[in-house]
Amino acid sequence: MADLSGMRFAETHEWITKDGETATVGITEYAQSQLGDVIYLELPAVGQQLDAGARLGVIESVKAASDLYSPVGGEVTEVNQELKDHPEYVNQDPYGKGWIIKLRAVKDNPKLLDQKAYNAFVQGQSHS
């Protein structure tokens, strides 16, 4: 199990880790389990500016197409090119090689949850 203690989570089921002023974004284990087999991702261009909560792309599983949202604002510096040929990495390793984009010049988003709060949020969702 990945160490998630430094991560922050959005209620739209994306995670973010910060390293200096660069941030990496992916989707959570819960999100990938709900989506099932991921088969395609539509991702932003490098250089694109995203606001916190803005749609950053679309993730498609066998079941459905779902929007992805950026947990923080910033500029896209990298998208995970490996996912073009291996979208299943999002299922297999959502916190590792299934990462989705990197952002720079990110601003803090106080609405993000820590791991404990996110787990509690997911518990509440799955029982609703």
Partner: protein, 373 residues
Amino acid sequence: MVVTAARTPLYEEHVRLRAQMTNFGGWVMPLQYSTIREEHRAVREAVGLFDLSHMGELRVNDESLAQRVVSRDVTRLKPGRAQYAVLCNEAGGIIDDVLVYAMPDGGYLLVVNAGNQDGDFDWIRAQGNQSASPSGGGQAGGAVLNVGREWALIGVQGPRAVGLVQRLTTAELGSVKYYAFVEGSVADVPCVISRTGYTGEDGFELFCGNAGAVRLWRALLDEGQSDGIRPAGLGARDTLRLEAGMRLYGNDMDADTNPLEAGLDWTLNLDKDFIGRDAIMRAREQGPSRLLVGFKVLDRSIPRHGYSVVGDGERVGTVTSGNVSFTLGYNIGMAYVPPALAEPGTRFGVDVRGTAAPAEVVQLPFYKRPHPK
């Protein structure tokens, strides 16, 4: 209001196998046990096990009634054989697609879609009452039985399916042709053993009483270990049937679609009378205004039910099914398009979130299993 979805006799087995469950046609059914991709591959390369107990079964004992409601000439169906057919309304719209089994006792078994089971039953019974002879006085309605909730149905599909089922029965399965069936015990459970399926692979569908379902399921799963068997859910069932070009009722056709539009001309015996025939004859004279076609997407976009087909910036049709084809490695779909766009090789766009993804009409089915050696 709380609507409780019905459980098949195999519900506890699915829970034990940690399936992700979903509601479908009024039933709570396994969507997937592992991943749809793995289950799909198991069926194409080894063998998959499906709980299909949600499917409806109707007994129609009156031959003339079966003849009136089914699009095929059922009198030409030999006992021990099954046929794919449709039920139509007076306007020629498809009420359901069914498998018709000619039973050895002279009656017919209709295997119908889960969500249509009670509607089909009521409708067929009503036709029986209308057409009852003066001497019968409504008796014909009694000749229809809704037995779906008493029967379980287990699908065993894939290149290793026949060998697997053969090891569990003394019935001689080599002589059971495609779309034929025999009665016999499998793992000591009395079954109708039918060489049919909805995956594009060889295999069987096993009908048994609810009481024998768990025993049969477990025996197949145990015996199939050496074959690489996997339980497979509705997710894989959908991606498999799409590759095989098989229509899904409610997605690819409904009561507003006639069989000509749906490309199901081959299920019609227009030289006999059945409900909807006259309307279909008229539609045939006029020529269809749209046709169901298969298409492949030429980029990485994934077509979905309800997306628009576009040509010259205009909406010209509608996607009815679409997904990745795990076996072929590209994305495929079915759509209604004007006849002018229905020829294989024709190109059109599929509107995916505002962008026209290039697509090309291809012959159905997308996937045909290799011939047995």
